[in-house]
Assembly symmetry: C2
DNA sequence: GCAAATATGAGAATGATTTTCATGTGCAGA
DNA sequence: TCTGCACATGAAAATCATTCTCATATTTGC
């Protein structure tokens, strides 16, 4: 365990109590928490952590590529641990639930489309919004 | 001409001076303006229009399906007239330019993926971010 | 253990968007 | 055409997420 903290250390970043708690909070989340949810969860580990520190830490983690930040429509941005597997999201409009999926053909198509337009694909965002069938 | 105003009337909405000016401003834009750009352009037609009215009107137009709102990463949301042709966007990271594109295979794949997951696709968002090749 | 570099908490500041509220206006019907 | 009233407006205050400021506290290489 503690993969994330290890990766964090390997990235050569300074490890503090606040960051350790935030990393733990993130690692033990399987949903896609927002900054305030992470703040709550981190406070359960160390109650002195400030909201600003969560935002600062998430920005740092995003910059070094350890987490991915998603702006799903309105409201707060959601975070997730960066995984090696490339996936996109489907949002269940009935419940707000976020479902991850992966599709090889889709990934290939994105790259191909960008290339056809004369671009080198650097990033992308795909979200599907749907309601359960029947 | 005046397609948009006609569609607006057909939607059974109350037509006011402010809304007429905003609709004209939107119709004569071929970029993807944000609310403040639309406010500037609408003020050129009727200088008394308030920023709040632009925001209110854009929300109304979005609700009735006459415009599409896009949140590209940070900052202000961008708007465009709703078109019949389904297209996505590629953002040139070097210049910020927004390029529209359309791909049948991609559209079909989105629907197929949602269905495979047990969902009826209601909406989706795809943005590609790239840099010009060489 | 020390110093320099960097992180932190608390609250103020920012920026986009929405709301409030008192007043003004479009339009269905007489 | 006139009128009432439901709805729209301008201006400024309020919200919400996020970032910044700043004085103080921690981390880590030496």
């Amino acid at each position: 365990m503690s993969d994330l903290i290890q990766k964090y250390i390997d990235a050569g970043l300074r490890l503090t109590d606040a960051r350790r708690a935030i990393l733990q909070a993130l690692q033990s989340s399987d949903d896609h928490p927002d900054a305030l949810m992470l703040h709550e969860r981190a406070k359960a580990i160390d109650p002195t952590i400030a909201q600003a520190t969560v935002y600062r830490t998430m920005r740092l983690l995003e910059e070094v590529g350890l987490v991915e930040k998603h702006d799903f429509g309105k409201g707060r941005a959601r975070y997730e641990e960066a995984e090696k597997d490339q996936h996109d999201h489907l949002i269940n409009l009935a419940t707000g639930e976020i479902i991850e999926f992966q599709d090889e053909a889709l990934e290939a198509l994105k790259v191909a489309i960008a290339r056809k337009l004369g671009f080198d694909l650097r990033d992308h965002r795909l979200e599907l919004y749907g309601v359960p069938i029947k």
